[in-house]
């Protein structure tokens, strides 16, 4: 039904426009600040990796990346582990208040981070978790656990109920059925859910910077500091920015067939 080549051209043009800003950032990261300031060029003049080396050798940056990766990873594991049984229950059974609970999770998923920034700050300060990765891990559970429940519920729905019953008839106890039969069937669902939890925690900036100050400073905070302190070291900023894109770009290829289902909270 496509009328010829026009849609293809438009689509490719859009992809180019979409990639242009990212290309621009990469170009920036390969130039020294003086080259940047000396004028606009389409291709980086005498490209160098010096900024990347600077970051890799700077303990604050390395520590910041380490902190970010660790709280994101821990949060992802907790979110998926906690969400799995809940997603199974939501999809397989009716129980008192199931509709309301499922809705309540959606409201947390959609809650504006700004509303929770101040209360979280006070809460974690009070219980002594402030400026530790656990503050960010628990804070990100606010939206990542609901996200994991919703996406996994979509994937659990993909497995016919008769398989659970056949396993029961075969004599499986629930735990052995869940681990030996059920989990392998939603393996790609778990993978996609983990990817989206990782991503939503990795891209979040407001809570991550509010709940940390020195010891557990994530890279986002170090980047915001870079604006004010060294007077706009553009290429350093660009290099740090490019590094943050790597995790997403790497993993997306493996879950590309389920991206839509993930973004649509498992509803597609």
């Amino acid at each position: 039904m496509r009328n010829g080549a026009l849609p293809k051209i438009l689509f490719v043009f859009y992809l180019v426009v979409l990639m242009l800003p990212i290309y621009w950032l990469i170009k920036m990261s390969l130039q020294s600040n003086t080259d940047i300031m000396s004028g606009l060029t389409l291709f980086p003049r005498n490209p160098t990796f010096e900024k990347y080396l600077e970051i890799f050798n700077d303990p604050t940056w390395v520590h910041a990346f380490g902190v970010s990766l660790s709280y994101v990873a821990i949060n992802t594991v907790i979110s998926v582990a906690v969400a799995l049984p809940a997603a199974y229950a939501f999809n397989r059974y009716y129980f008192i208040g199931d509709k309301h609970l499922f809705f309540w999770l959606l409201t947390n998923l959609m809650a504006p981070a700004a509303v929770f920034a101040m209360p979280f700050f006070q809460l974690y300060y009070a219980i002594g978790l402030f400026d530790s990765i656990w503050a960010v891990v628990l804070a990100h559970c606010l939206f990542n656990v609901p996200l994991a429940v919703w996406i996994l519920e979509g994937f659990v729905g993909g497995v016919p109920r008769e398989i659970d019953e056949t396993a029961a008839i075969d004599g499986y106890t629930f735990p052995s059925f869940f681990i030996r039969i059920f989990l392998p069937l939603i393996a790609n669902g778990i993978g996609v859910t983990a990817f989206f939890c990782f991503m939503f925690s990795w891209v979040e900036q407001l809570l991550a910077t509010t709940l940390t100050s020195t010891h557990a400073l994530p890279f986002a905070a170090v980047m915001t500091r870079a604006y004010s302190v060294s007077g706009m070291d553009w290429s350093l900023l660009a290099a740090a920015g490019v590094l943050t894109m790597i995790p997403g770009a790497f993993v997306i290829w493996f879950v590309r067939n389920h991206i839509a289902k993930g973004f649509a909270l498992g509803r597609v």
């Binding site: 008769e162 398989i163 019953e165 029961a168 008839i169 075969d170 004599g171 499986y172 069937l185």
Partner: protein, 363 residues
């Protein structure tokens, strides 16, 4: 190993879907649950397997009350209509799964799985994944899993409904033989009367969640206790004719009298329903015999070995069977001659009222 359903009742959304079902199945028996879609076949099977809990009544397995026992602990196997297998396991692992769970020795698992695979002609497919198999092969894998478990109760929920016409014919032959020597109680649900007749054994006719009759298949077919049982057991649909008996004469729609056929002589006056199956009526240009009605041909259905002629006789549309291929042109006038010896008579409440079993119909 008998299995008893004792006054079983079950509700869905507050509506009584299964209504006071009492059935006793003998060991090593083949029992067909016959009824239209939504008659309650699947629900009864799920209750017997323990997948759902009955609202009222209890289930006895060898006299032991198993109503509350979880599915895991019951000696039951089930085959679904849409051939359910574990997609992530090979055919071998699928068949072996009940034995593995039961902790049977590895060597014994191997022999029993290969034996079941041989019986169901899956020998060279054991390492394949269910996704790579055809519909027929997937269903045979599910049947093999049910067979290998040697459960006391085997439930087959319209297992052949999704298969090709000819494949269905072959599996229908094999199934009774496959399970005959296991001594299990076999419950086979279907909407097709011809399947019930082919499988023989005994038949439970169901409508709207109620058991209308339970007995040896050919007896239920030939000697329906009520009109519901007769309707369920007729494909094409049962031909029916409301009649009234007034002072020794049989009247059809006030104006036409059928004289005094001796088949009705013993009946007291009142309104009745006369019913007959397609094969109890012959069709021809002229009337032969007492019960004949002329009408126009609507359509002819040819099923290869037989042809069904649909005739509009004014008071209803009836179907007559002719063996071989005969294409009556629609619109043609024809006379339906009913064999009075193979007619069922039901009173206004639907109960069968013939004193003696109608001769001729009894083999």
């Amino acid at each position: 190993m008998t299995f008893v359903l004792d006054h079983i009742g079950f509700d869905v959304g507050g509506v009584r879907v299964i209504d006071d079902v009492c059935l006793t199945f003998q060991p090593a028996s083949l029992n067909v649950l016959l009824g239209p879609t939504l008659a309650g076949k699947t629900t009864i099977m799920r209750l017997m397997a323990g997948l759902d809990q009955p609202a009222t009544g209890s289930l006895l397995h060898d006299g032991q009350d198993v109503t509350g026992t979880p599915v895991r602990k019951r000696s039951v196997a089930m085959v679904y209509q849409q051939f359910i297998n574990y997609p992530s396991l090979t055919v071998y692992a699928n068949i072996a799964s009940p034995l593995r769970v039961a902790g049977v020795a590895k060597s014994e698992i191997d022999t029993r799985v290969r034996e079941a695979a041989r019986v169901l002609r899956l020998d060279n497919l054991l390492q394949r994944m269910p996704g790579q198999l055809s519909g027929g092969q997937q269903q045979r894998t599910a049947i093999a899993r049910a067979l290998v478990k040697r459960a006391g109760l085997v439930l087959l929920d319209e297992p052949l409904a999704n298969l090709d016409y000819k494949l269905r014919e072959e599996l229908r032959e094999e199934l009774p033989r496959i399970f005959s020597h296991t001594g299990a109680i076999l419950i086979y649900a279907t909407t097709e009367p011809s399947e019930a007749l082919l499988l023989a054994g005994s038949t439970v006719t169901l409508s709207q969640g109620r058991v209308t009759q339970f007995g040896p298949t050919s007896k239920v077919y030939r000697d329906p206790a009520n009109i519901d049982a007769a309707r369920v057991f007729s494909d094409p649909p049962l031909n029916e004719l409301p009649i009234a008996k007034q002072n020794e004469r049989i009247m059809v729609q006030q104006d036409r009298s059928l004289g005094r056929p001796n088949a009705f002589s013993h009946l007291p006056d009142g309104t009745y329903r006369l019913a007959f199956r397609a094969d109890a009526a012959s069709i021809g240009p002229a009337a032969t015999g007492e019960l004949n009605f002329s009408g126009t041909v609507l359509v002819t259905e040819i099923s290869g070995s037989e042809s069904f002629i649909h005739v509009d006789v004014g008071i209803g549309t009836w179907v007559c069977l002719v063996s071989g291929v005969h294409d009556w042109a629609p619109g043609q006038t024809a006379t339906v001659n009913i064999d009075p010896t193979r007619v069922f008579i039901f009173d206004s409440s639907g109960q069968r009222v013939q004193a003696n079993v109608v001769q001729g119909a009894e083999a």
